[in-house]
Symmetry: none
Subunit: 242 residues, 2 copies
């Protein structure tokens, strides 16, 4: 079982770096957890779980891709089924101190489920037509837009505005930008699929394999990057308390 | 050994998410254990053991199912042989503070053994007939009903009613609902088997593979969900004490 990674395949390259980066990030968050104040410990644990879960799935996706040269759709969505709700839990932990209720958590999780179920139908059951890709992609986007709205103008944003904690405000500002920029990479990757607007049957700007390239880049930004931002806030907040 | 997960197989999907969710939950319970008051630490440890044991069995069940497309009956009952008594231990830990005696623990474990032994005979040694499925399923249900009765009206319920601890009352209310709703999913899944009331030889509402789908969903609810409810109670109780 030798790892034969084609030197000219950026998708394979990012599957491998993604795997190791997720595993390393998980160890980082779990170890550093003991250096932050108690109220931040759960956030760092959740970051460690998100990247740890992703490490296992990247391990399988990497081998699947290198062996078959195909997109590991089922594995990707199995990962998201767990990690996207956990990302939402991380958002919720940030605003809980500002008075967020459990109902907010459930609304965001429902939006995430809508986003993922329709996205899965769009990718897994495609007939290669643009109609299929656009229909299910649009429905999925409704869930995404709801989360985006909540972070910029809706309940999450309002809780942060009403809070007098600098940490909550910095955290919510960061998450709003991650959802706007980092999360937007996924629908762009989705449009590289057969029948997608940016793929070979559409504008021709992306090849089908760019879907995995973009998903891998976005996953690193959102899973590791957002975790690091939360860690930074937690550290500076913990220093104040000491 | 590439993981080839058919995109249209929800049973495989839940075996994979179940595996990773159990592993993540186990890490969560074991890490968060240090954030609760001492008297709750054993409960969180037991939750971590239940989900950790399940993670290992899901690892094997997943591979068994994907390779053979068959129900991993033996592995399933090997898991339950350990995790169901541990769930009962978790119930006992909740009411111990309200004066529960060890004899209660043994009665509940005996009921669980009856439930599992007869259920195993029903599934593993079926001749495909409805007579076999219904006979052993009914005997198994006697054990289930005893546990249900204890939680809603019997010894467990009476201990909670007589206790003046809010934590005990909230915990017992939660477990009563989990046993009524979450545990009821298992006998429904059982009826999807050949000869079962809801399967192809009965009402035809379920396909045989729905047995594993329902068991997987129920396991996530009962093992992770109930653990999280206990964790929530433990955290709020610990905050009061600190
Ligand atoms: C809008 C949209 C999508 C959005 C996916 C997103 C936003 C995924 C986020 C994943 C994260 C944040 C993982 C981190 O753990 C899909 C499903 C590609 C389908 C097309 C439309
Ligand atoms: C009533 C009944 C059953 C009940 C099974 C149950 C209730 C299993 C619970 C498992 C749990 C709680 C695992 C968690 O760790 C069987 C055996 C399917 C056989 C048919 C009748």
């Amino acid at each position: 079982d030798i790892m034969r990674i084609p030197v000219d395949d950026p998708v394979a390259f990012t599957f491998f770096t993604g795997y190791m980066a997720m595993a390393a990030a998980s160890v980082f968050f779990l170890f550093e957890r003991s250096t932050v104040a108690d109220k931040w410990k759960t956030s760092l644990l959740v970051s460690g779980l998100i990247t740890g879960i992703a490490a296992v799935h990247y391990y399988y996706m990497r081998d699947y891709y290198v062996s078959t040269n195909e997109t590991p759709i089922a594995l990707r969505y199995i990962d998201w089924t767990l990690t996207v709700p956990l990302m939402v839990v991380e958002f919720y932990l940030l605003v809980r101190a500002a008075g967020a209720k459990a109902s907010l958590l459930w609304k965001l999780i429902l939006a995430a489920v809508i986003m993922l179920v329709f996205g899965y139908i769009g990718e897994a059951f495609t007939d290669g037509s643009m109609g299929h890709s656009v229909l299910w992609g649009s429905l999925s986007t409704l869930g995404y837009v709801y989360i985006l709205y909540s972070a910029w103008m809706g309940e999450v944003a309002q809780l942060a505005a009403a809070s007098n904690s600098v940490a909550v405000q910095k955290g919510v500002r960061a998450l709003a930008w991650f959802i706007l920029v980092g999360w937007a990479i996924y629908p762009i990757g989705y449009m590289a699929m057969p029948g997608g607007w940016l793929g070979p049957d559409g504008a021709g700007l992306l090849r089908p394999h760019d879907l995995d390239l973009l998903y891998n880049i976005a996953d690193a930004i959102n899973k590791i990057g957002f975790g690091l931002v939360v860690y930074g806030i937690a550290r500076s907040e913990s220093a104040v308390k000491v």
